[in-house]
Amino acid sequence: MHDVIVRKSFVSVEEIFHEGGPVAQKPLLRGIVGSVIKNPFAGRYVEDIVGFMDDLKPLGMKMAQDLIAALGGDASKVEGYGKASLVGETGELEHGALWHAPGGYSMRENLPASNAIVPSSKKVGGPGARIDVPVTHRNASYVRSHFDAIEVGLNDAPKADEMLVVLVMTTGPRIHNRAGGLAGADIIGKDGLK
């Protein structure tokens, strides 16, 4: 068991009205929540790290709830999601993988009908590094209108012995989506894919 020590946290909401085409009736919201935490395994090789996933669960739950609140408080309005981790330089890519269970389940526990796998990205980087967080529909991964990505980064994080863990949520399709494919309205929503 390791303490989860948070140095800083942030919530960011982007409201998109248009991208050169018709102005949307309702802006698309894309939200990010991030926490900069101490990496308990920085600086050395530790074989058994998997228990830290459980330690991260309460943080994941709080982050998911904070993000839903920042997007207006109605979980049913969230349509897309994604997650990412950025590991500081004395850590290891594998440490970033510890965010898979706590990051993913925290969102799926707080959102209705979220059968789709939560897409993710991870990398090792220094303060100011940027990571692109992939986004897909929460209930059917193949919904083409919801494929997106959100760039995240902080000028002062992650320091060498830290990790930045991130969740993202969106409230709808890309603002001028018109690339066809499976539409959100046509999904079956059972297998998480279609």
């Binding site: 140095r7 800083k8 942030f10 919530v11 409201e15 760039e151 980064g153 000028n155």
Partner: protein, 192 residues
């Protein structure tokens, strides 16, 4: 004014050099990406952008205060900045920031006797914009000199301008370089 997007971020610092910051210091940045009506042409009269500045002073100032979840009087410091896409002119940023943005921003944070610190630059998509910060009622309060970096991966496009306002409810996490303290500020002349 044609707004393409608005990004609002609240950042909290809970720890600095191993010391717990309680309550955490908090900064909110709200940034609008707007079409530059004068991209690619020289216009002598920039009145239109001055009005845009006035509207954004209200809109972005309010978004910052709302995002912090504070009463306007509890705002402690502020700042503003703009980054003009490559088909614009540095003067376009000045027209937005300086003549008319201050009054509505001060209304959003209640009072605001001090000059609103500012920065401006020309830049392209994804470039960082550092927004300088100073105490809203007494510019010499040393604990509140700061800056917050803002950037948006897809802005500003060549024909756009990115306009940011930052409001805080606190100074730096561990201020200890002396000078005028917030509690000793009179807040009458905007300086001390």
């Amino acid at each position: 004014m044609k707004i393409r997007k608005i990004v609002t971020t609240v950042e909290e610092i809970h720890l600095e050099m191993g010391k717990t910051i309680a309550p955490p210091t908090r900064r909110a940045a709200s940034t609008a990406v707007i079409e530059n009506p004068f991209a690619g042409v020289f216009k002598e009269d920039l009145d239109l952008l001055m009005t845009v500045g006035e509207e954004l002073g209200t809109l972005l100032g309010q978004k910052c205060v709302d995002a912090l979840g504070i009463a306007p009087k509890d705002a402690e410091s502020y700042g503003k900045a703009a980054m003009v896409g490559e088909n614009g002119e540095l003067e376009h940023a000045a027209a937005i920031l300086h003549p008319k943005m201050g009054a509505p921003l001060r209304k959003a944070v209640e009072k605001g006797a001090a000059l609103v610190p500012s920065s401006k630059k020309m830049g392209s998509m994804g470039q960082p914009l550092d927004v300088p910060l100073g105490h809203k009622d007494a510019a010499y309060v040393r604990s509140h000199f700061d800056a917050m970096e803002v950037r948006i991966s897809d802005a500003p496009r060549a024909n756009e301008i990115m306009v940011s306002i930052v409001v805080t409810d606190s100074g730096r996490p561990l201020p200890r370089v002396g000078g005028l303290e917030s509690k000793d500020a009179k807040g009458e002349d905007g300086l001390r």
